[in-house]
C-alpha cells in the first residue's frame, strides 16, 4: 500500500540540499507552512532560491529563514508589507537578490511548470519597465510578452486534510498558491492539520490529487504567523 506519510517535519525536510530552489505556499500569513519552514531553519540548508508571493513578516517563518542567511534569492510579487522588515534590510544591504514577478505571471509560471509548458505569452508588463529584456510577440493585433515556466526542487505546503496517498484539501484562502506549487516541484512536502484514512476525502472534494505530492506529515495544531507576531515571537 502506498503511504506517503512521514513521521516528523524534521525528517520531511532533511534531504533539502544547499542551493535548492524551494517553493513555499501561502499568501502573507494565510497558508504559510510555519512548522516546515522552521524545520528547514533547523536543518540549515543555505544558498536557497525561495519562491513565495511575499517575503514574510516579523521574525518568524519565511522572514526568519531569510534573516538566518539561508536564502540567496527571493522570487516574489510583493516583497514588503507593514510588518516586513527582515527582507527590506537584507535587500538594501545586498545580502539577498530579488526577482520581482507580477502576481498573475508568478502563478501562471508555476502552473505552467506543473503542466509541462516551458513558456507562455501574457499581456502583463507590456509597456512597463518589467517588460525589459523579454521576448514579445503579437497575436490578433495585441502585444504579449513571453514568460518561462518556474520549476522547483521542493515545495513546502500547508493543507487542511491529507490522506496517505497525498490527496489534499485546504482551508479557505489558505489555498492560494499551494495547489500549483504542488504540481511544479519535483518533491512536494505537505504539512496537514488532519491526517485522514484513505477514502475519507470524497473524491469530488479533492483539491490537490495525490500524484502531485511526495510526503505528508501531520501537524495537528499549526501555529499561525499572525499569532506568533502578535505574541512578539522570533525563530529560532
Amino acid at each position: 500500500m502506498i503511504d506517503k506519510t512521514c513521521p516528523s517535519v524534521e525528517q520531511a525536510v532533511a534531504d533539502i540540499p544547499d542551493g535548492a530552489t524551494v517553493m513555499i505556499g501561502g499568501f502573507g500569513a494565510s497558508g504559510s507552512p510555519i512548522e516546515l519552514i522552521h524545520a528547514l531553519i533547523d536543518h540549515g540548508a543555505t544558498g536557497l532560491t525561495v519562491i513565495n508571493n511575499n517575503t514574510g513578516n516579523g521574525e518568524v517563518g519565511l522572514a526568519a529563514l531569510i534573516g538566518n542567511g539561508q536564502v540567496r534569492k527571493m522570487v516574489c510579487s510583493f516583497p514588503r508589507s507593514s510588518q516586513s522588515k527582515v527582507f527590506p534590510e537584507m535587500y538594501r544591504a545586498g545580502k539577498v537578490e530579488l526577482e520581482l514577478v507580477p502576481q498573475g505571471t508568478l502563478a501562471e509560471r508555476i502552473r505552467a511548470a506543473g503542466a509541462g509548458i516551458p513558456a507562455f505569452y501574457t499581456p502583463t508588463t507590456v509597456g512597463t519597465v518589467l517588460e525589459h529584456g523579454k521576448e514579445t510577440r503579437t497575436f490578433d493585433g495585441r502585444t504579449y510578452v513571453m514568460e518561462p515556466w518556474l520549476r522547483a526542487d521542493f515545495a513546502l505546503i500547508k493543507c487542511e486534510q491529507a490522506d496517505p496517498l497525498g490527496n489534499l484539501t485546504y482551508n479557505k484562502t489558505a489555498r492560494n498558491f499551494s495547489p500549483i506549487m504542488c504540481m511544479a516541484a519535483a518533491t512536494t512536502i505537505v504539512q496537514a492539520r488532519q491526517l485522514v484514512q484513505r477514502g475519507a476525502i470524497d473524491p469530488e472534494h479533492v483539491v490537490t490529487p495525490g500524484i502531485f505530492v511526495e510526503r505528508v506529515v501531520g501537524v495537528p495544531d499549526p501555529v499561525h504567523e499572525d499569532t506568533l507576531i502578535a505574541a512578539g515571537r522570533s525563530y529560532p
Binding site: G31, N53, F78, R80, E108, T128, K172, T173, S178
Partner: protein, 218 residues
C-alpha cells in the same frame, strides 16, 4: 474654499457606475469603500486575488478566521454562494477577461489612460507590484479612485506619467474629490463636477488639458 466629495462620496459615486451583477475587484485603500455603497437593488460579486469570489465585509474580531483574508491581508468574510480557488484560477479570472470592473488607487494617471500606481522608481525603494499589472491588462473596465492632487498639491491627472507605468492606455474613468473624468481619444473629458466645484478649478488642478462636459444628448 472648495469642499468637493469626501472619500465616502467618491466611493458612492463610483459605485453608481457599476452595473448590477458585475464581478468586481477593489484595490487597497479608498477603493475598498466602494463595497459600502452598493446602489439599492444591485448586487456586486467581489473578487479578491488570493482566491475568493464572493468576498463579504470584515468580521467582528471574535468571528475572524485566520485563513480568510483579502489581497490586502485583512480579515474578511465569505458571502453565501462564495467560492475558493487557487492563484492560477484567480488570475485566469483576471487575465481571461472574466471580471467586469476593477477599481484602483493611483499615484498618477495620464490623459491617454496610462496608469502608474506601483512604484515611485526611487533608488532604495523596494519594488512591489503584486497583481496590479495583471488586473489592468485583463479586467474589462479599469476605474481609478483617487484624490485629484497629491498632499503637496501636485496634479495626479497628468499629460504623461513620470513614475514607472503599471500599464499603458488601460484606464477608462477617474473619480476624484473634485470630479468624474473620462479618458477619451482626445484626452481627459469632464463628466461631472463635484457639487460646488467649477470647471475652472478642476482644470487648474489637472496636469493636462481638460475637455468640458459634453452637451446633454437630445
Amino acid at each position: 474654499m472648495t469642499t468637493g466629495w469626501t472619500r465616502e462620496q467618491m466611493a458612492a459615486r463610483c459605485a453608481m457606475d457599476i452595473p448590477d451583477g458585475a464581478y468586481v475587484n477593489l484595490g487597497i485603500g479608498i477603493p475598498e469603500l466602494v463595497a459600502q455603497y452598493v446602489p439599492g437593488g444591485r448586487e456586486f460579486i467581489y473578487h479578491t486575488e488570493n482566491g475568493l469570489l464572493g468576498m463579504g465585509p470584515p468580521p467582528d474580531e471574535a468571528d475572524r478566521d485566520l485563513d480568510l483574508m483579502n489581497a490586502g491581508k485583512k480579515y474578511v468574510t465569505a458571502v453565501p454562494g462564495a467560492a475558493y480557488f487557487h492563484h492560477a484560477d484567480s488570475f485566469s479570472m483576471i487575465r481571461g477577461g472574466h471580471l467586469d470592473v476593477c477599481v484602483l488607487g493611483t499615484m498618477q494617471v495620464a490623459c491617454n489612460g496610462d496608469l502608474a500606481n506601483w512604484s515611485t522608481g526611487e533608488d532604495g525603494a523596494i519594488p512591489a507590484v503584486g497583481g496590479a499589472m495583471d488586473l489592468v491588462q485583463g479586467v474589462k473596465q479599469i476605474f481609478v479612485l483617487t484624490q485629484h492632487t497629491t498632499k503637496a498639491g501636485e496634479p495626479k491627472l497628468v499629460e504623461r506619467c513620470t513614475y514607472p507605468l503599471t500599464g499603458r492606455g488601460v484606464v477608462s474613468r477617474i473619480y476624484t474629490d473634485l470630479a468624474v473624468v473620462d479618458i477619451t481619444p482626445d484626452g481627459f473629458r469632464l463628466v461631472e463636477p463635484a457639487p460646488g466645484v467649477s470647471y475652472d478649478e478642476i482644470e487648474s488642478k489637472t496636469g493636462a488639458p481638460l475637455l468640458p462636459q459634453a452637451a446633454p444628448a437630445g
